[in-house]
Every structure is written in structure tokens, then in C-alpha cells.
Amino acid sequence: MGGMTRGYLLRRVLIFFLTIWIAASIIWLIPRLAPGDPITAMVSRMLSRSGYIRDSAAIIEGWKARFGLNDPLPVQYIRYLSNIIHLDFGYSLAYFPTTVNEIIALALPWTVGLLLIAVFITFILGNFLGAVMVWRGTPRLFRMLIPVGMIFTSLPSILAAIFLIYVFAFLLNWFPMMGPYDIGMQPGFNLAFIGNVIYHGTLPALSIVIVSFGYWSLGMRGMMITVEGEDYMQLARAKGLSPFYVLYRYMVRNAILPQVTAFALTLGGLVSGQVLVEYMFSYQGMGSIIYNAILTQDFPVIQGTSFILILMTALAVLIIDLLYPLIDPRISYERG
């Protein structure tokens, strides 16, 4: 068998679009089940702050008409979906003439960069530890690391972030507490700037790494134990191949495949954790934007950033799913 069948491909693409559609619909529908509408809520918040607004009822009506909130719900829904498809999230309320997309464009590279680096380190470190755990040549002391990693796996990334900020930024002052680079530094493609970005990114990336590497170690360990029992392992040893060669070419290569699928399953949680870590570190990514938007009640920004993150996650899962049959030709994909 092997390779990618048409059914598999269609199914994955279907899942991708369904994910986007369902997530977008939930976001739209649930708040509308609650009593009240956003305009009334916003004007009454303004009322509570500034005391009195003349003709507030007229203002509410005017804006409702302006935003089409008086249209029947299906019409509103279709309009919403069409805006989403065009990735048009409108204007930020807090920074008015700026569009949501401009704000996202500033933040997205930072988020993607930090996420990729953290995930890369986690995946390598976690799988390495898991593999080494089972390998016969590993010192005993080293094997003790896994249970420790396990304990960390149960913790949310924010707890790790708080702890790291307190110890390494506040107490020891080894790392900066916030931001993606020093304030006042001119972003550019030079060594000093890149070094500074790495320096600032260490703690945020570390918060993600320490809460997730145990997960990969465990999965890898389980797979390695399974692979260890295979006949080809015995053959490899009987052939007198060097232990390192056996470890890498025979064990790791076979064991790591299911990890890739597991990776697709954890992406959603990973993105969520990342957003919270960015907010903790005031990192210039989607997390900080979401947090600021929550503070300023900038709803279009919240919606836009969240949707982009959902879209990114779904897209990443799709890519992994499509790459997987190419990586592992043993499994047939007749039926998902």
C-alpha cells in the first residue's frame, strides 16, 4: 500500500475546513445565545464610566444599524463567514485607524518564531531523552530525569513561566523579564540584535520546553520499548553493528514515527500555552495582543487574533497529516 490515497487526502482537507468552519461558528453563535448585544453592552460600559451620555438609546440604535445587528441572524451569519473567509476582521477599536490585520502582521512572526524554536527544542530533547531511556548503554543516573520531566508535564506553562520569571529574572537577574528585545534597540538583521532576541527569548521558550518535553520522552520511551522487542533489532545486534548505529538507524527511526501523529494532536494545547507564556513575558506576540485587547475591550482584535491562531493550528495539523504518509510508508490510509 503506502503513499497517499485520494480518500485520505480528501478526508484531511475536509477535516481542515470543518475545523475552521465549526470553530468560527461556535465563536459567532455562543455569544449570541447570551442576552444583550455587543453595542448595548459597550454603550452601557461607557455609561458606567463617564456617567451620562445624551441620547444613548439613539446611539445604540444608530450603531446597531451601522453594524447590521438589526438584520436577521442568518444574514449576519453569512456576512460574518464571508468576512472570515476574506480574513477581514475590521478595525481595532483601541487603535482605531489601524486594522486588525496590521496588528496581527506585527505580532505573528514573533509568535511563530518562538513557537517553532520551543517546539523544535522540545521535540528533539524529549525524544532524545525518551530514546536514551530505553537504550542499553545509558547510565542509571540519566534515567532518573524522566520521572522529573513527567512531573513538569502536568503543570501549565504559565506556572513554569511565573517560576522562571521570579527565579531567573527577578531574583538572579540573569535574563530580562519582558519584551522580545531591549527597549530602544533598533530591529535589524545584525548579530547584536539577533543575540538580544535570543537572550530575551530564552525564558519564554524554556517555559514551554520544561512543561512539554516529558510528554515526548514518555511517548518515545513507550515506542522504543516496543521497537526493542522486534526481530530486526536482534538481527542488527547479531550483525555486530555498533550500539550507536543500532540506536539511531534501527530504534529511533522506527520509534519516532508515531510521535509525529501525537504532535498533531497536541498542537492546540501548545498554541494555547504559548499565548499564555507570551502574555506573561509581555512578548511581542499574539498572546500580548490578546491580553491588551481584553484589557481595552478591543473585540475585533480578540476575534481576529484567536481566529488566526485557530487557522494556523488547523493548517499545521493538515500539513503534518499530509506529510505523514510520506514519512511512514508502512501504514495504509484506505480509511482514516
Binding site: A23, T153, L218, G219, R221, T266, L267, F307
Partner: protein
Amino acid sequence: MATVETTPSDAVVGRSAPPAKKMGRFNRWDTPWINPKLLSGAALIAAILLLGVLGRIFWNTDLALTGSSPLNLPPVGFTSTRNLVGTWDHPLGTENSGRDLLALIIVGAPNSFLVGVIAAVVGMGVGIFLGFSAGFLGGRVDDIVKLLSDVAVTIPALMVLIVIQSLIRQVEVTTMALLISMFAWPGPTRLIRAQVLTMRESGYVQMAKLSGASTFSIMFREIMPNLIPYLFASFIGNATGAILTAVGLETLGLGPQRVPTLGGTIYYALNAAAILRGMWWWWGLPTILLAIIFIGLLLINLGFDEIANPRLRQASH
């Protein structure tokens, strides 16, 4: 250490084959249910719950209200950067707006569990229903359930909930739990479906079928008992996930506003720059409590996994 890989996400549980464990079942104390991990995890969780119950009896929870205590007091035996000395009136200190931290965690900690339990119960119920239907009925039903759970597992729950809760600003603990439970069903569904699919082909189910047992009786008398450890593990995993999401929402300031929560306390602490002001007790206590909760749940989950997996071995032969 565990011979079994465990993760809060139960979708991967079946990946490893644990080495066989010798079991002599003659002594009544020699049951797999007396498992050190399970018991120590349960003890941690029980301690937190006990704090919530006893605290309400022995401590004045009205002190969790704003302005009920002096501001920024450190815990007993410590002196704050502003030279305030901790007193026994507020043994764990107070925060920025005059809330007593002991009262805060007494009221806040059980709320986290409430979210976890509600979301896990709902997710479990839906999961049992969908998982059994899919595994047993197969065909169209299975296709749809599988598709939907594949879709739901991809959606980052926190992102969706952030949008929803930033629109509905006033949420109660239960509302938040129900919203979170919208994303709690794919895990159990996938797990149960996979287990039912394997067990359906197993000897004893075939035997029951041959002896003319009804589908219903096969489901609940033959398959269900074998699933119980998985269901427990999945329940705990789900509760952990739900608490995780809830804490995420709370630390972003989107949690319940009227009742104190652990995540909410961290949110206020960070907002008031408690780390920079050296008020470690403010953010530290809820953090430690959350860590204990999560570690307790993890240990329970590990325990269940050790109980569950010999059965997995038996069932698949």
C-alpha cells in the same frame, strides 16, 4: 517509575506495550487498586479539598472580599519590602486590595475542582455515548463520530473560549465549566471508540454474542467493566485539561469575576506587578496550590494507568 506512558491526552494511551507484571491474586491486599501513585495523588487532592472544607469552618471566608483586611501584608514571620510585618490575623498575608490570601485560596481552590468535575462529567457522558455508538454501530455513525472528534481535537479550545468569554464578560464558575466541556468530549470519545473496537473482536464478546446476549447487555455487562480503569483515567485527564483551560482563562482576566479563583488571583497579582514588588506570597500561593492540584491529578492518572494496562494486555489476546 511507571512502565506505562501517560499523558493528559488520552488519545495516545494505547501506544506502548508495557512489560508483563506478575500478579498473584490470593491476598486481598494484593489488589492493583492499592497503588502508591494512585493513593498519593488522591491524598494530595484530598488535602486541597479538605483545605476548602475545613477552611470554611475554621476561617472567616468573608476576608476574601475586597477591603476586608489591611493591604499588602506579608505572611507570618516575613517582613515585606515596605517593612510591613506579617501577623497571625492574616497568616498567609494579604494583597493589594485588602483580601486575605488564606481566605482567597480556601474559597478559590474548590472552584478549580468544580470546573474540572463538571467539564469532565459532561465530556465523559458525551464520550461514552458517542464512543459506544461509533464502536458498536460502525458504518455511517462511526464515520461521522470519528470525523467530528478529529475536528474537535484540532480546535484550540482556549482560543475559542477567549473570544466567547470576552464577549460574555460576566461568567459564573458553572457557565465557564460548561463552555469548557464543549471541548472535553473528543478525548473520551476517541478512547472509548478505540477500546470498543478492539474488544468487539475479542473472544468473550464473540462468546456473549453467540450465546444470544443483547447488544445492550454486551455493552454494559461485558465491555463496560473492562473499560472502567480507562474511564477513570480519561476522566482525570479530562478534568486536568479543563482545569488547565480554566486557569488559562482566569489568568487572562476572563474567569469568573465575582468569586475568587486561583487563576484570577494570579491575574490580579501579575496586573499589580506583584513579582517586581517582591510580594511573592500573592502569586506564589495560588501557583503552588495549582501545582499541587496538577501533580495530584497526574499521580492519580499514572496510578489508573498501571491498573488499566494489564487488562489491556489480557483484552487484546
